[in-house]
Symmetry: C2
Subunit: 193 residues, 2 copies
DNA sequence: CGTCCGCTTGACTCAGATCAAACTTGGTGG
DNA sequence: CCACCAAGTTTGATCTGAGTCAAGCGGACG
């Protein structure tokens, strides 16, 4: 049961997306909202010189680009990180549904609020100067509370881009963290010590 | 007419805040929402080592810490940048008002969505490696659309912190931008060339 | 079986951090 | 009204750590 269905909406369509295909580009008009059934979608912005800045990785059972509900044009690109299956909803229908269902509206508001906090955490993270400390803090933040272990849903290389490091700097930071026994690691699995 | 009054709410109280005083600290329980009548409030997080990371400057006629509406405890500090005068509202009353007024709920959602985009822009900005380019892009983003001039509401020093530079690096970047005729500047006034 | 891509390490460079010091500005209080 | 203090602003010298370039390894996948 996805949040759109809870509102009594049914999808306009389903959409398949192959790995590397893009769902929309910056500047495209926004008419639809998406829910990810399967796969992952990466949201990316680009600097003038073309450098990609990934700022979100939306996973299965999530909606994404929520902010676009109130804008006419996308302000980022969406690219399938792997093969994806999406439910497509109408943006106007969704807005109308919120009018009639304050509970749903509130839950969507909460969702947005949580996004705001997540983004703030990301900013906080990027502001850490030391690469080693930055990576360590990133891992701490990702480890489920109460647990000490974590398996990354993505490559370390893309983590590097997400936290504003080159992949080389990231790998060196990981090596350093292992040497100083602050983490143990095997591939994409990490454990805090 | 502030957004709370539009909902038919009246303030529980008014609150004065002297420059440098803090309104709340990270971890404090959240019972109220604020609207700034006068002055400015800075939202700050702190790294483990105490380095402050300012991530938002809320100005007069704005509400702020919107994300806190759905959380129990603050995840940042709020400090008065200058003498402030605030209207205080009850958080539960506000939530209840949204239940009864879907239009207001939607407008608040839009507000949150806009915050999400602003934060994403900030992340994009911080990811620009070159200090000069970073400062230039920051200014471009701040200049009102259609205009070419801008007067900063804050010191350059605090801009430096906001965009993840030391103040020295910021001033050097400004000097460089002036030398290469990309901006003109006098104190806190800037004009794009 | 070969190619691609993520991973990993080394050497070198350089931009921004750091440390230091002086000048300007604005506000406070005598 | 002026002396004084705090904070922002500005510039210089030095240092350091992340970026860059380069090269090799290994696993996945067609």
């Amino acid at each position: 049961m996805n949040p759109f269905e809870k509102l009594g909406l049914s999808p306009l369509a389903h959409q398949q997306l192959g790995k590397g295909q893009s769902l929309f580009h910056m500047g495209d008009p926004i008419a639809r909202m998406y829910f990810i059934r399967q796969g992952r979608i990466r949201l990316v912005r680009h600097l003038e010189d073309g450098t990609p800045i990934p700022f979100h990785l939306a996973a299965a059972n999530q909606m994404f680009a929520e902010a676009s509900l109130f804008t006419d044009h996308y302000h980022c690109d969406a690219i399938a990180e792997e093969d994806c299956s999406l439910d497509v909803y109408s943006k106007p229908q969704l807005l109308a549904a919120f009018q009639g269902d304050p509970k749903a509206a509130l839950s969507f508001m909460a969702h947005l609020a949580q996004q705001v906090q997540a983004l703030r955490s990301q900013i906080e993270l990027i502001n850490i100067k030391s690469a080693t400390q930055r990576v360590f803090t990133y891992i701490q933040g990702k480890v489920p509370p109460g647990d000490r272990e974590l398996t990354l849903p993505q490559s370390w290389k893309s983590v590097a881009a997400e936290i504003g490091l080159t992949h080389e700097a990231l790998y060196r930071a990981l090596a350093e963290l292992q040497k100083s026994k602050r983490i143990e690691r095997k591939g994409r699995q990490v454990r805090l010590c």
